[in-house]
């Protein structure tokens, strides 16, 4: 039987594919910002579908803070090989060595904010005119107002009060030389939608997303992985627990949750019951109520 009814996932998928094709049609040198997280992995999957049987016409760009979970990097390299696309990596360490940024110090030191400089330098170096990202509007208050096609000035900055109105599905990607766009095909997806899509499509993920045993310690109400990049404070004692990560980012600011969920279905069940937002596990957002907005204005992802 032919049904004309469209489920929410089918509509979201079709919309994301439409946006990805608009990027390829309207821009000269797009890149897909690949973080190693489930959102950008889903984006790669959507890009494959959008341009199939051709290859998607843009490389992946990963800004590497150097503070990674090794699994995330292994996964990234495997995926790029599997998909057969170009992978460009730029390192925060290089920006530090060149004196472009100064590394934070102390127990809460993180390279997360330093990424912005490395990212903007890379976009300039590669003459990128559209950077596709996996950000979703449901993640954080400041992102609720983000456009699909988000204009950035010649300094890479976002002006939230002066955004172009975006109507129907007519995306205006016109810009002056030196300016670029951030494009967010998953704007209308929620965390739950992404998980359901992963289950429905069968998308491979880094093992970090599934419950596993790991040495963690408690800091500021969340569980942090013991890594060489984090200095322990007095009283912080790592112990092995069953955990999984809800987001995969820089290891110094990504919190784990205690979980027994070892399959996508179990994660979906758990996500439905969870009472903490996804980004609640990220120290970088907790710095102030407007932390995300400030970073976005400066050109953060």
């Amino acid at each position: 039987m032919i049904t004309y009814r469209k489920s929410h996932l089918e509509q979201l998928e079709s919309e994301a594919i439409y946006v990805l094709r608009e990027v390829a049609a309207q821009f000269e040198r797009p890149v897909l910002l690949f973080s190693g997280g489930k959102d950008s992995i889903s984006l790669v999957h959507l890009a494959q579908k959008a341009f199939w049987p051709g290859k998607f016409p843009f490389p992946l760009l990963h800004i590497d803070t150097g503070h990674n979970f090794p699994e995330a990097i292994q996964f990234r390299d495997w995926l790029a090989r599997r998909v057969g696309c170009e992978l460009i990596v730029r390192y925060v360490q290089d920006s530090i060595d060149r004196g472009r940024v100064v590394e934070e110090t102390g127990a809460f030191a993180s390279r997360n904010t330093l990424q912005t400089v490395t990212l903007l330098d890379a976009l300039q170096e590669l003459k990128v005119d559209a950077a596709i990202g996996g950000a979703r509007r449901d993640e954080e208050k400041a992102r609720a107002k983000e456009r699909f096609f988000s204009h950035r000035d010649a300094f890479g900055q976002w002006d939230p009060k002066n955004q172009r109105p975006e109507l129907w599905n007519l995306f205006n990607g016109r810009k002056n030389v030196g300016e670029h766009f951030r494009v967010f095909p998953l704007s209308n997806w929620t965390e739950m939608d992404v998980w359901q899509y992963i289950a429905s499509e069968g998308i491979a993920l880094p093992s970090l997303y599934f419950a596993h045993r790991r040495r963690v310690f408690r800091r500021g109400g969340m569980l942090m992985a013991e890594t060489p990049f984090v200095t322990l404070l007095p009283g912080e004692t790592p112990e092995e627990r069953m955990v999984r990560f809800r987001t995969v980012g820089d290891a110094t600011c990504t919190g784990a949750i205690e979980s027994e969920a070892t399959t996508v279905e179990e994660i979906i069940q758990e996500t439905a019951a969870l009472r903490i937002t996804e980004r609640g596990g990220r120290i970088d957002d907790q710095r102030s109520d407007a932390a995300m907005e400030d970073r976005k204005r400066q050109g953060y992802f």
């Binding site: 929410h8 049609a25 199939w52 051709g54 172009r164 129907w168 429905s200 993920l205």
Partner: protein, 681 residues
């Protein structure tokens, strides 16, 4: 090797496609076993849920809300999120803390939705924000629009993707202007369902009489609008009455709660499943044997094997296959992002539209529309804007402004321009035909935006009413651009075919500058060179045209304008015949030149500024015109007593008091190559 593996998958997926994929097949569509190898411990493979997929059961409703701070709109949305358990513990704790710091005596649900810093500081919502929540049956996307000075712009933006609008009315204040305005804009943007939520019932003692009076008032107003479904619900967002839970305090109300209504209202009933329209978005050509046209079905449905026609070329073919990575589809439906292959090798590119042979959209360059002005700079009838419609971008100007609509009274008012947040009825003229339907029948092919070519900002949103038909609107304007009895047939032989034969692209090269600057000298030499190179070329010279076609015109600003208009139209006729048209006209006014530009596709009008100091021109005076003008025999002589406006952004500047004729011609040839009109040699 990926390619080998995938080619097998391609065969397996469907005989009709049989295509060799260049890229790896996305995972869900991959062949069994293809993903079996688990490369490292870091990678977790996920088996797709192929049958009875429980995650594909929910549907989606997009709605818009509008209202000011006082209406309690943020509180209502906060309530929906809170009562559907879409708020997380940490968000709740954050707003509990913030509520206490502000000295609110209750949990301030409005804080959940006021996103940006300035909003929190000034207590206003600045821009359209999107909110998400879901119940087991349905996912909801709310376009939350503020109700202050920027109201129209934001309401229009939020309404453009919505299927349902919640109009908030404060029970204490009754139906105010803003509630009417929201209803009007919702109906203008074709939203079929309007829910009037009469809020703050707790402050009017849950009075049935108050509710009924407001409903009656709004119904009376809504009779003037085109609303298919109008529903009234009495609520208290603050106390939670009738939002998610039924209220015990309003036993007289027997209808749905707001959430129940949102969950059960039929979605997609307004989709146009009749008129097949497929705007080509992108051409996928991984190798010689595969040419696919990627796009999203804007409306209607299409099946493999059906006969179709491609606009604007008018070439016919059949649908060979509708491709997806999971295998070919028998049918594609409105909203599907697919790849269409045709039986014949046709030259189809982005901006073209594939439709059924017996169900065509209107093809034309002039249409009537309602536009909402979104730009800070007002509508300027002399500017040639970029018009984006489906996947097509053309130059366009607003050729007539019929009237402005007062959004508060719905009265028509005379107007000479439209400012920010104003709505008007206009006639639009485009440089190239677009393929459109009335907005009321087809939201996707009836909507467009205008973009300022200088600032790149989106300045207007438009809804097409239909073609220009009436004698009044065609003849009324001083400069009608088509005669009422002429039916535009389209070109018999598409320009693209002529260009393919010529071996170069068509274009208009417009040389502007003072009399005596050297335009004609350069143009003649250039024409020689092009002709020798085997190009199809035409020289249009200002003097020639004035001897014949424009013999009735003088040199007033008005006549100069008409002279250039005719020259532009003639250039366009030659252009459509595939020629490189070299035009030499003093053409002193920027606006006139921009009008010519608007007649042609982007990148095909190249403005060359032939610049020379006035003193030098006067010295050269090849036709003795400066001498005559000096004697008073020629009034309004450009450069002397009539102004010359140099191009602001010419493709090329030739300073003829410094460069030779040969160098100038070479520079133009380089320009033609750089613009992609001539092949580089």
């Amino acid at each position: 090797m990926a390619a080998v593996r995938v080619s097998e998958a391609g065969k397996r997926a469907g005989g009709a496609a049989g295509a060799l994929a260049e890229g790896a097949r996305p995972q869900a569509a991959a062949a069994e076993g293809e993903w079996a190898e688990a490369p490292t411990d870091a990678v977790r493979l996920v088996a797709p849920s192929r049958t009875n997929d429980p995650y594909r059961e929910m549907d989606l409703l997009r709605l818009s809300t509008a209202g000011s701070v006082d209406d309690g709109k943020s509180t209502l949305i906060g309530r929906l999120l809170y009562d559907t358990k879409s708020i997380f513990q940490d968000q709740l704790e954050a707003i509990e803390g913030a509520s206490r710091r502000r000295g609110d005596d209750h949990l301030n649900l409005a804080l959940l939705t006021d996103g940006l810093r300035a909003e929190r500081e000034q207590n206003i919502t600045i821009d359209v924000a999107y909110r998400y929540f879901a119940t087991p049956k349905r996912k909801f996307i709310i376009a939350d629009t503020p109700g202050h000075v920027q109201y129209t712009r934001n309401m229009v933006t939020g309404a453009s993707t919505a299927e349902l609008a919640i109009v908030l009315v404060d029970a204490r204040k009754g139906v105010l202007t803003q509630s009417k305005r929201h209803g009007f804009i919702s109906s203008l943007l074709g939203i079929p369902h309007i829910v009037v939520a009469v809020n703050k019932m707790d402050l009017v003692d849950y009075s049935e009489a108050v509710f009924e009076r407001i409903a009656a008032d709004y119904r009376e107003f809504a009779e003037k609008l085109d609303v298919k479904d109008l529903v009234f619900i009495p609520i208290s967002a603050l106390k939670g009455d009738n939002v998610v839970e039924r209220s015990a305090r309003m036993p007289w109300y027997s209808g749905s709660t707001l959430l129940h209504y949102l969950e059960t209202v039929s979605v997609g009933a307004e989709r146009n499943l009749v008129d097949f329209r497929f705007p080509v978005q992108y051409v996928i050509r991984p190798h010689q044997d595969f040419r696919g046209f990627a796009g999203r079905v804007a409306s209607g449905t299409v099946m493999a094997g059906e006969e179709v026609v491609v606009l604007p070329s008018g070439q016919r073919s059949r649908i060979r296959a509708i491709e997806t990575p999971a295998g070919p589809l028998a049918e594609a439906v409105e909203g599907d992002s697919v790849v269409i292959r045709l039986e014949d090798e046709l030259d189809v590119s982005r901006g073209d539209m594939i439709v059924r042979t017996m169900n065509l959209p209107t093809v034309g360059t002039r249409f009537e529309a309602i536009v909402c002005w979104l730009g800070v700079a007002p509508l300027d009838p002399s500017v040639s804007y970029v018009l984006q419609h489906t996947t097509r971008a053309v130059r366009a100007f607003v050729s007539r402004l019929h009237y402005r609509i007062n959004v508060d009274t719905l009265h028509r008012e005379p107007a000479t321009t439209l400012g920010l947040n104003e709505i008007g009825r206009v006639e639009v003229t485009t440089s190239l035909p677009i393929f459109h339907d009335p907005f009321q029948q087809n939201r996707a092919t009836g909507s467009f935006i205008l973009v300022d070519p200088f600032t790149n900002v989106t300045v207007a949103a438009g809804m097409i009413r239909g073609e220009v038909r009436t004698a009044e609107s065609v003849f009324g304007a001083a400069e009608a651009t088509t005669s009422p009895d002429v039916v535009w047939e389209g070109w018999n032989i598409a320009r693209e075919r002529r260009e393919a034969r010529n071996g170069h692209k068509a274009g208009v090269l417009w040389l502007t500058g003072l009399s005596g600057a050297g335009k004609s000298t350069i143009a003649r030499r250039l024409e020689e060179r092009l002709f020798e190179a085997g190009c199809q070329t035409v020289l249009l010279d200002g003097d020639q045209l004035r001897h014949g076609l424009c013999g009735d015109l003088g040199f007033s600003a008005e006549d100069r304008r008409e002279n250039i208009r005719r020259a532009g139209e003639v250039a366009r006729l030659f252009f459509e015949q595939g020629a490189l048209v070299v035009c030499t006209f003093v053409s002193p006014f920027r606006e006139d030149r921009e009008r010519v530009r608007a007649l042609l596709p982007e990148g095909r009008f190249l403005e060359v500024y032939v610049s020379c100091a006035l003193e030098e021109c006067r010295r050269r005076d090849p036709k003795g015109l400066y001498a005559r003008a000096a004697r008073g025999e020629i009034p309004n002589f450009t450069g002397l007593d009539s102004p010359y406006e140099p191009p602001e952004n010419p493709a090329l500047v030739l300073e003829t008091d410094r460069v030779s004729v040969e160098a100038a011609v070479t520079a133009i040839l380089r320009l033609l190559e750089a613009a992609g009109l001539l092949r580089a040699r």
